[in-house]
Each structure stands twice: as C-alpha cells, then as structure tokens.
C-alpha cells in the first residue's frame, strides 16, 4: 500500500517555500539578530523557524502571504527560545546585560552603534515592532498579523519605541557611551 509516509514527492508549495526560505534567510537572520543582538542565538532561532515552516507549509492558504507568515513563525520561535532559556520566568521581568556585542562597542560607525545600543535597551515588544517596520519595512497591518496584535497596538508601540529612541539618542550625544543592555520580553 502506498501511503504518504513511503511515497514522497515534494509538493509545489514545499518547493516554493524552500526557495523562499533560501532567499529570505538573510532577512530572517537580520531580524532575529536585531531582536537578540547575538549571532549564535539568531542562527539557532532561524533554523528552528525554518523547520517549523517546512513542517506546517500545508496549512498556508495564501502563498503570497508567505513572508509575513515566516516572520510570524520567527517571532514565535524567538519567544519560545527565551522562555526555555529563562525557565519560565516572566519574560518581561528579565533584563540581560548585553555582554556579547563587541560590534556595538567597537563599531567604526559610532552613530549606528549608538542606534543599535538604543534599540537593545527597548522593551522586547517595542523592539520587535520598530525593527519590523523600519528594517524590513512591513506595513502596520502586516506587523499586526505577524505579532498577532491589533493594528492600534502596533501604532502605539511603534510611537513609544520611537520616542524612547529619540530620547536615548539625544542623551547619548551628551553622555559617554552607555553599556548596552538588552531587555528580553
């Protein structure tokens, strides 16, 4: 008897997703890095997200929405990763000192380094919204879909994140460089 378990040909959806994941890996990695500021963590989370995406591609109804769907999986994997790491501590309560970001400390471009440092200091849910909008240029509706939150929440988080960044960057102009601190939601 031929069953799906022993007769295997890749579906058109799987092939399309394979190609899309391959071409989007850089974007996924950049986003995971912007959320974690750690290359090793970003790599692990992207791998996990790819596995989950490949396993659930058959659930995708609209192939054109693959991009936001992949970022949604990435976001879920990121939260799962830190939940496991923190052993079920409330993620909002966790504050990490960002010790492994020599790129920030030694960056040749101080202005961009200070922006990264300021982003690292944002609460995770603000950081997620601002990076999705400003780095990957997703629309508010797409971000709402990726993070499974109302569009109004996207707008208010984005606004608070921008105000906070503005303040931090203005302060850093007058003060000596602060040690980056990374909040994990």
């Amino acid at each position: 008897m031929n069953s799906i378990k022993n007769l295997l040909i890749l579906s058109a959806k799987q092939r399309k997703l394979c190609k899309r994941l391959h071409s989007n890996r850089d974007q996924l990695f950049r986003m995971a890095y912007a959320w974690s500021h750690r290359a090793d963590v970003a790599d692990e989370i992207v791998q996990e997200a790819m596995i989950k995406a490949l396993n659930s591609v058959d659930k995708v109804k609209n192939v054109d929405a693959l991009d936001s769907w992949m970022f949604r999986i990435l976001s879920n994997c990121f939260i799962d990763y830190y939940r496991k790491q923190r052993n079920e501590t409330e993620l909002d309560e966790v504050l990490l000192v960002e010790a492994n970001t020599p790129d920030i400390v030694h960056s040749q471009n101080e202005m961009l380094a200070s922006v990264r440092s300021a982003i690292a200091s944002l609460p995770f849910n603000h950081r997620q919204v601002i990076t999705l909008v400003d780095i990957e240029e997703f629309s508010y509706a797409e971000v709402a879909n990726i993070l499974d939150i109302p569009q109004g929440t996207v707008m208010s988080r984005l606004n608070r994140a921008r105000q906070s960044l503005k303040k931090t960057l203005n302060e850093s102009k007058t003060n000596s460089p602060q040690k980056a601190r990374l909040k994990v939601v």
């Binding site: 008897m1 031929n2 069953s3 378990k5 022993n6 007769l7 295997l8 040909i9 890749l10 799987q14 092939r15 997703l17 394979c18 190609k19 994941l21 391959h22 890996r25 850089d26 996924l28 990695f29 950049r30 890095y33 912007a34 970003a42 790599d43 992207v46 791998q47 790819m50 596995i51 995406a53 490949l54 396993n55 202005m111 961009l112 922006v115 990264r116 982003i119 601002i130 990076t131 909008v133 400003d134 780095i135 240029e137 629309s139 508010y140 707008m155 208010s156 984005l158 606004n159 921008r162 105000q163 960044l165 503005k166 960057l169």
Partner: protein, 248 residues
Amino acid sequence: MSKQNLYSDEHISAYIDAELDNEERARLLFDEQQDAELAQRINEARVLKEKIHLAYSDIHDTKSSKNPFNCTAFVSKQKTLVAGLAILVTATALLLSPFTNEAELILARQLIKNTQAVEPANISQTIGVHKQVVINISQYQPQNFDATINHIESLLQQHSADTSFQVEIVANKQGLKALDTRTSIHAEQVSQLATQFDNLEVIACAKSLARLATEGDSIQLMESIMITPSAAQQVAKRMNAGWLYLKI
C-alpha cells in the same frame, strides 16, 4: 500660526511609514511645506527611521551563500576508495559552501529520518509510473538487500529501452556496508549493475564514510560507486527536481 500641534507623533509616524490615505497625506504634505517647525519634526522622524534601517544593514547571515554549492561537482567516480579520501572530500565540500539550499536540506533530513521504509516486495508497486527515483539505503540486512537489489535489477531490465527512467541509490550510515568490497556479498553485484545500466547511479555518502572510518570501520568501494558530500544533499537535490523518494 504653527500647525505642528495639529499632528500627533503617531500621525507623523504613519506619514513617514506611508500608512496615511491619499487625502491625509496630501494635507500633511501641504502643511509640511508651510510650517518650518512641523517640517523639522517630520525630518527628525525620517532621519531616525533611516538610522534604524541602516543600523542593521551590515548584518548578514554567513549561511546565506550567494554561490550555491553544486553537489554534482563533488560526485565523482573514484578508483577503489578508502575512507581517508572521503574525509578529505567532506572537509573540502563543507569548507567551500555548506549546501545548495538549507531549507531543502532540512526537509530532506526530516524525510530521511521520519519516512517509513518500503518492503522490497513493494518496490515496483510503490514506484508505479514514476520515472525518476532516488532510493535511500541506510541499513544493511543482507537478506533484505538481496531482495531489494533483485527488484531494482528487474525494474531496470523492464525499462531498458526507456532512457527517461532513472534510478539513483544513495547509501549512507550502515547502508554503506552493502557496498563494502571486503565484507558485503552484494558489493560486486551492485557495481556490475551500475556499470551495466547507464540509468543507474550508486552513490555513497562521504559524511557517513568519514564517520564510519573514525569508528574504525573503513569502507572500501568499487570503482563504479560515486561519492557525494552528504546523502541529505543528494536526496534534497533530486527531490527538488521532482524525483520520487523511497527509503529501503
């Protein structure tokens, strides 16, 4: 009178993010040109957005190879091959570039791991009308393999006039022992088939050869056997080209 207080920060954010409808956008654009303080607020917001965009523009994933690795370049016929060479092939392949497409590779690894094996007696029925088949052998049980290789030979004979019919046997892990000239009773038969039929390729996984060698189990292959850096890569490549995957 300044109009800057008419607009909230959220409104300005929506403006620079192209989230306003045309009417609102036109109104704010007009006011921006009339009001220097409002223009200053909008400019600051734009500069911040640009800085954030640039802050991560130099972050690149080292695994996203722009020069895809071509498996076929490393599938080469070898004279009697020892595992030491396999280690070299593996190391070279991994150093050059890890794989063609990581997503395909992940999928192939999962299939290799999770797919149920087909009974030798069901091979013909399972293949059915498919013309291109990649058969993965990851264990060697002489009796089972005997039936398998006989079925494959029979299939190849049935399709001897059909040039579109192609079979690729990819051996990895313990399945490599079926190809070992020193211990397998089937090594010579497999080699003869690979020589006799142009539409049959028998491929050994270099990673598995290297692993077995480090465990003191060096495999010796006949000259007609080809080597691929990894079985998963080979399966991924074939499946992406629409081949049927079977696990024995």
